[in-house]
């Protein structure tokens, strides 16, 4: 187990190094004059030159990379061109917001997937199954940002039922920063009204993010439930006279869950990067929106940092999912084939 994790970690570091080379190269080779991008075209030549020195732009690319990597390893991604401060500080600020959002969305995904998936699997080939199937197709076909806009209009604009924008109503003070998660911090400091308000703010964007994955993963779960229900071991277990409920919830669900869990893990991990449209719509001050801003503004240091951070998170989420899957399905242990 420990060996497996160490091996995964080493492999992950290798892959992340590859990712960093990739992104660094893209960010350095392609764009025009970095100094102009950073300081604007009317900045004085001296100011631009100072920046070039600072970013080692005169060095050959491999050397630039090594210097950059050296700084990164010390936790220094350089300064953002937009916010004019250390990128690390930006990330400190934006990452928790997105993580909080994505985690709630993840909870939705898990609950929704298992709920709908089991429902469809249990009632396979009935109207319930059909309805869930149709829902899943709609889920595939409707992009999250369209869902987000619809939710915003419905709940925030028409019904005014739920606070929709930002992380907290402007009348409230954010809780002291402990974890960066508003709900958690507010609970820890005993500000229940704040926690509730922050939670309400999370609802819609999380839902917009979760709906697509839910309906699709539910279908994956449903189909492996149906697949496995024709397996010999299900017939055999039925033959032992085990109660039907136990058969479905235990004997069928556990071996069927792995593919859906893998999918959910992937979805969850990609939410981190793909949340930007939803973050934009709900004015959510998250890392994804920050990353997109960085990209649109060619904020090169920030781009590299965001991609690396997302890569790292992606890697850890995948590893955790693999561990969960291995815990559920002994066949997957020992780093076995998928």
């Amino acid at each position: 187990m420990v060996k497996y994790i160490t091996k995964r970690l080493l492999m992950g570091i290798l892959v992340l190094l590859g990712t960093s080379i990739l992104i660094f190269t893209i960010a350095r080779v392609v764009p025009g004059d970095v100094a102009t991008i950073a300081l604007g075209s009317r900045a004085t030549e001296a100011a631009k030159e100072a920046l070039r020195q600072e970013m080692n732009l005169h060095d050959p690319l491999p050397l630039q990379y090594i210097k950059w990597l050296g700084n990164v390893l010390q936790g220094d991604f350089g300064n953002s061109f937009i916010t004019k401060r250390a990128v690390v500080m930006d990330i400190e600020q934006f990452l928790p917001a997105t993580l909080e959002l994505v985690i709630i969305a993840g909870v939705f995904i898990v609950i929704g997937t298992f709920g709908l998936g089991l429902l469809a699997g249990k009632h396979k080939n009935t109207w319930i199954d059909g309805l869930i199937r149709i829902l899943s197709y709609i889920g595939v076909a409707l992009p999250a940002f369209v869902v987000g806009i619809l939710l915003l209009l419905l709940f925030g604009y028409k019904l005014e039922a739920i606070p929709v924008l930002g992380r907290l109503s402007s009348s409230l003070t954010p809780p002291t920063n402990i974890t960066g998660f508003y709900v958690l911090d507010a609970l820890l400091t005993g500000q229940f009204a704040v926690a509730w308000d922050a939670f309400l703010h999370l609802l819609l964007p999380a839902l917009a993010l979760a709906i697509g994955p839910i309906v699709q993963d539910a279908r994956v779960l449903r189909s492996s439930l149906v697949d496995n229900s024709t397996k010999e071991y299900m017939a055999v277990s039925t033959g032992y006279g085990l109660p039907p409920n136990l058969l479905i919830r235990k004997y069928l669900l556990k071996p069927s869950a792995t593919s859906a869990i893998t999918m959910m893990g992937m979805d969850f991990a990609s939410l981190l990067g793909n949340a930007f449209l939803v973050e934009k719509i709900f004015n959510w001050p998250g890392i994804s929106r920050y990353g997109i801003n960085a990209m649109l503004n060619k904020d090169l240091n920030a781009i590299c940092a965001v991609v690396m951070i997302i890569g790292i998170t992606f890697f850890f989420v995948n590893m955790i999912v693999d561990l969960i899957v291995a815990a559920l399905d002994p066949r997957m242990r020992k780093g076995g084939k998928k």
Partner: protein, 334 residues
């Protein structure tokens, strides 16, 4: 005559397939008496497993269609049973050793977890008495010659060899006492030496505790050593049934004869030519006798009509126009 524990009358089972119904089991009659060991012998794919799974009621309605027939177990028709009765039937009435040990165990639970659940829901034990459950499981595993029950209980199926898995399957079918045991080719993955031991175990179990056994196999040798009465199945029909001794002394159905001749003898003497042709297509089975296209004695009538089961000697019935029906006299020689 002894009490019939299982009585199958005129049963047909059709699989739903993309080409239409696959008429796998066709009007079969079969019965098992209390304390009797019967053998169901036939080539691969002739419907042995299908029949027995239907007896257990584990084939879903979306998979099969039963156009006619009844399966009476202890006097109650399994096909029309309520869910609760069915559960009861499986808990105390019948158990089945699956043919495919590789896929008969749930891959994500340890053997122990699976055995314990069977015991817990069997109604024979107090579900809270962990100790008793564990002992029962241990006992079952040792009875099939698995030497280290603790380790086996803690293992997942994929950690066991095929032979071990097969023995685990056997153990879980024997773990609680049942009136009827269906053994579906229980020894395919086992060495002849172990196979021999398992057969011994099964025989003991049935004989000592007055239970009944259906032994499914395609090996006539196994049937000969183990059972009292044999049903020969071909293409979804039961073509011959008789006491074991009679089968080897006076095989009557052409298929039975062919089958016997095909078995390579330990005494040497070369190989037979095999039976001409291949098994029928179940979606469009031959209209008359299903063996007719391969039968050296086939006649006109065999193509169009199904031969009835005819008793040619006490306890010896054959479904062939060479015996019985109006063709009986002429059919003797060919």
């Amino acid at each position: 005559m002894a009490e019939k524990i299982l009585n199958i009358e005129d049963l047909s089972i059709w699989y739903r397939t993309y080409r239409g119904y696959s008429q796998v089991v066709d009007h079969i009659h079969l019965h098992v008496d209390k304390g009797e060991k019967i053998g169901l012998v036939g080539e691969s794919g002739c419907g042995k497993t299908t029949t027995m799974k239907t007896v257990m009621g584990v084939l879903g309605k979306d998979l099969i269609h039963i156009p006619n027939g009844t399966i009476d177990f202890r006097g109650k028709n399994v096909l029309t049973m309520k869910q609760s009765d069915l559960l009861e039937l499986r808990r105390s009435g019948v158990s089945m050793i699956s043919q495919s040990p590789m896929s008969a165990l749930n891959p994500v639970f340890t053997i122990g977890q699976q055995l314990m659940d069977i015991l817990k829901y069997s109604g024979k034990y107090n579900p809270r008495d962990k100790e008793a459950l564990k002992n029962a499981a241990h006992e079952a595993l040792t009875s099939v010659m698995l030497s280290d029950p603790d380790r086996i209980m803690a293992s997942y199926p994929h950690q066991l060899s095929g032979g071990m898995r097969q023995r685990v399957c056997i153990a879980s079918a024997l773990i609680t006492p049942k009136d009827l045991l269906i053994a579906d080719e229980p020894c395919t993955a086992l060495d002849v030496t172990i196979q021999d031991q398992i057969h011994h175990l099964l025989r003991e179990l049935v004989e000592e505790k007055k239970r009944s056994l259906i032994m499914i196999t395609h090996s006539l040798g196994v049937a000969r050593e183990l059972v009292d009465r044999i049903y020969i199945m071909y293409g979804g029909n039961i073509v011959e049934s008789c006491r074991t001794e009679d089968l080897f002394t006076s095989p009557s159905h052409p298929y039975t004869q062919g089958l016997l001749s095909c078995v390579p003898r330990l005494s040497g003497g070369g190989l037979s030519a095999g039976i001409y042709g291949y098994v029928p297509d179940y979606v469009n089975p031959p209209k008359g006798c299903r063996f007719c296209p391969r039968c050296p004695y086939a006649k006109k009538i065999c193509e169009t009509e199904k031969p009835p089961m005819t008793e040619i000697a006490p306890d010896h019935t054959v479904a062939c126009f060479r015996f019985g029906g109006e063709e009986q006299e002429k059919g003797g020689e060919a």
